[in-house]
Assembly symmetry: C2
Homo-oligomer: 418 residues x 2
């Protein structure tokens, strides 16, 4: 079979499997997930040998060290995979829950019941551990998943999938619940994106280039975020010690991720006291600061910001800093430049805290806390499969519940419509 035929057949098999998965009990699902965890430990040497083939090939093609690091299934990464699986098994099963139920005047009892989405296409880049994490979340929420990993991780992904197949077979669960596309061709991705009759949603995870490619070519709805341009506004009268701690955490703790702060907005009444001490601390941590003219007047060491720095996702130890006259100006700046991902205010003022929460149109809006909390685990959803900054279906981090939808179930006693 050629590649498009293979992908279409996988999609058909996934759809068949989805029907069975939707009624699988939690006990069976958890058994499979914990069995995968066991097998990961048992077969560690084999998996690392397969992974070494990918790593060796990447080395020969002179991929950068950071890339090779992400590609490698080290002992530490393998242990984290096992731990992650145990956590997913421990999470409640969202499927079947009736989220609300009510009686109509004619006696019909109407409820909304959680059901799986069906078939999920998951398209991602080089980290092979994502293969297992994503598969476990899709499986636990009763969905069939078709995985399309990065071309550099193919051997690793196929070995991991063979192992998951073994666990599925042991529990007599359908093998097509978890499939990896056995091809690295872009043609395979394009064919997957055409299966709108069989695949219910596409979740891409990776760089902005991958995500734009998927969004442009997909005929299936895509849950995605392109980037996280997170802002913190330090208000007049804020606790400046708290502001310093939170801003430092948001920028420095892990600068390469989507919920790190990229732009700091400071009320002009707080700027003269706050910026010198904050900037000192940032510089000591190696953060490059790029500021507006008012920022540079207060702290001449700050480089001038260009227009391109506002709304830019640095993903690095670089920060844009702007002094604003008031909350309204901060909200205007955020409305213009944010990516609808995460924004925070540091304030002591009740009214401005409420106004910020109310008016900012981002998936997570925080008062007096770090933007780094936009994360399924941190917000209490359990493990997350990704963050969605489109408003549809689930805005923000997506955990198990966000991989389900609801149908209406109706208990009647012979009612007809008049």
């Amino acid at each position: 079979m050629n590649i498009p035929d293979v992908v279409r057949q996988m999609a058909r098999d996934a759809k068949d499997a989805a029907r069975k998965l939707s009624t699988l009990s939690r006990a069976v699902k958890d058994q499979v997930i914990l069995q995968v965890a066991e097998l990961l430990k048992e077969r560690q040497a084999h998996l690392q040998a397969e992974n070494a083939r990918d790593v060796e090939a990447a080395r020969q093609q002179s991929y950068p060290a950071a890339f090779i690091d992400r590609l490698t299934l080290s002992d530490k990464v393998m242990a984290a995979m096992v731990q992650g699986l145990k956590e997913v098994a421990a999470l409640p099963d969202p499927v079947g829950a009736v989220t609300s139920m009510w009686v109509r005047p004619n006696g019909l009892l109407v409820g909304r019941q959680r059901i799986p989405l069906g078939v999920i296409g998951f398209i991602y880049e080089s980290r092979p551990n994502v293969t297992v994490d994503a598969a476990a979340l899709c499986f636990k929420s009763g969905n069939a998943v078709i995985l399309k990993g990065g071309k550099e991780a193919l051997h690793s992904n196929l070995a991991l999938t063979a192992l998951m197949q073994e666990a599925l077979a042991a529990a007599q669960a359908p093998g097509a619940a978890i499939q990896v596309i056995p091809s690295v061709a872009r043609e395979a991705t394009l064919e997957l994106l055409k299966q709108d009759e069989l695949v219910d949603i596409i979740i891409p995870r990776g760089g902005e280039g991958l995500i734009r490619f998927v969004a442009e070519h997909s005929r299936i709805p895509v849950l995605k975020h392109y980037k996280g341009v997170c802002h913190i506004f330090v208000d007049e009268g804020a606790d400046l010690g708290m502001a310093e701690t939170v801003c430092f955490n948001a920028k420095v703790q892990r600068p390469g991720v989507c919920n790190a702060m990229e732009t700091l907005l400071v009320h002009e009444a707080a700027a003269r006291e706050f910026l010198p001490r904050m900037n000192r601390r940032f510089r000591a941590a190696g953060v490059e600061l790029r500021g507006c003219p008012q920022t540079r007047e207060i702290d001449p060491q700050v480089k001038p910001a260009t227009d391109a720095d506002w709304g830019f996702e640095f993903l690095d130890l670089i920060l844009a800093v702007k002094v604003v006259p008031d909350l309204t100006a901060a909200l205007e700046h955020i409305a213009r430049y944010s990516s609808n991902h995460t924004e925070a205010i540091i304030t002591r003022d009740y009214g401005r805290a409420q106004r910020f929460l109310h008016e900012v149109d981002s998936s997570v809006v925080l008062v007096n806390a770090s933007t780094r909390f936009n994360d399924g685990g941190e917000l209490g959803l359990g493990a997350e499969i990704g963050i969605n900054t489109s408003k549809l279906h689930a805005f923000g981090p997506m955990g198990l519940e966000e991989l389900t939808t609801t149908k209406f179930i109706v208990y009647g006693s012979g009612q007809v419509r008049t």
Copy 2:
């Protein structure tokens, strides 16, 4: 300006308006909606004169009578529009509600708060009353809407929109909250479908051709249903009196709509008693029956069904009838042919009722009630803007709540991530 420029500018204006709409109070929103109702009564003569231009043009182009009927703003249709607006004003405002809230171990208070989706593109066919119904639902839920109606209703739609603009202006609400594309060109629709940076969702309403066109060309997520191929399964041991009443209602009460029954499945143990009386009643109401060989053995007056009749949406007084050996066979038939819209079982058996509810993958699944209840108003959601048979965002009828999403709001006291 040429048409694409006009549409792009409308989308930009809508996005600006959406920011203001998201914080509009319920009082102002209801005031606008009730003012539109008042103006509809005051300006009835003018609106009907504008509508008469559309109706006259349609007559000259020899449109069928049913089409002209749908196009006409009769006194009765106008009264229904006024009544519909009053009902929407009376519905609770979904925006701002915090649907759940919890405390994290670190003290963060995390909540999910309902917010509007943003900008909705609504594309529909000839009935001009839909212009007002849809605009009211979008406005009440805090969304800006761009309406693209059928070319035959342009004068009516522009007159209705001018009136809605007047009500918006009187309440100092943004005029771009409700806009009608002032062009009948397909080019305008295509341009709207490209505005994925400005428009959040597209809702098409009309025939399957329109909906497929929209789904194929849209870069924006589309909430839609192509068709409703609704099944009823009459189980062994069912109350056959109830089965007769429900099936008759589901097929005959309004055969041209998406929640009417198109295929009747009958357990073979019930068929010999049930089909003769049911078929007699159907025939008396002018229903053409097309059956499987077993059906025809019981009732030779039934025409033979062809393969094309299974899974076909007749939208007419035609019904496909099949005898099946058991519930499993009924579920198989439904899984293969249903449109995931609405299915019902008539049964007295507890276990089979539960199994049917559990396994059928449709937006509304009923026990002992007519498929005609798949409707926002009938299920208790209030007025509906449409029915979605894709699993994403909202599966089934969509009322005001389904035109919103949730963001996370987080109340902290200086928390950082470690």
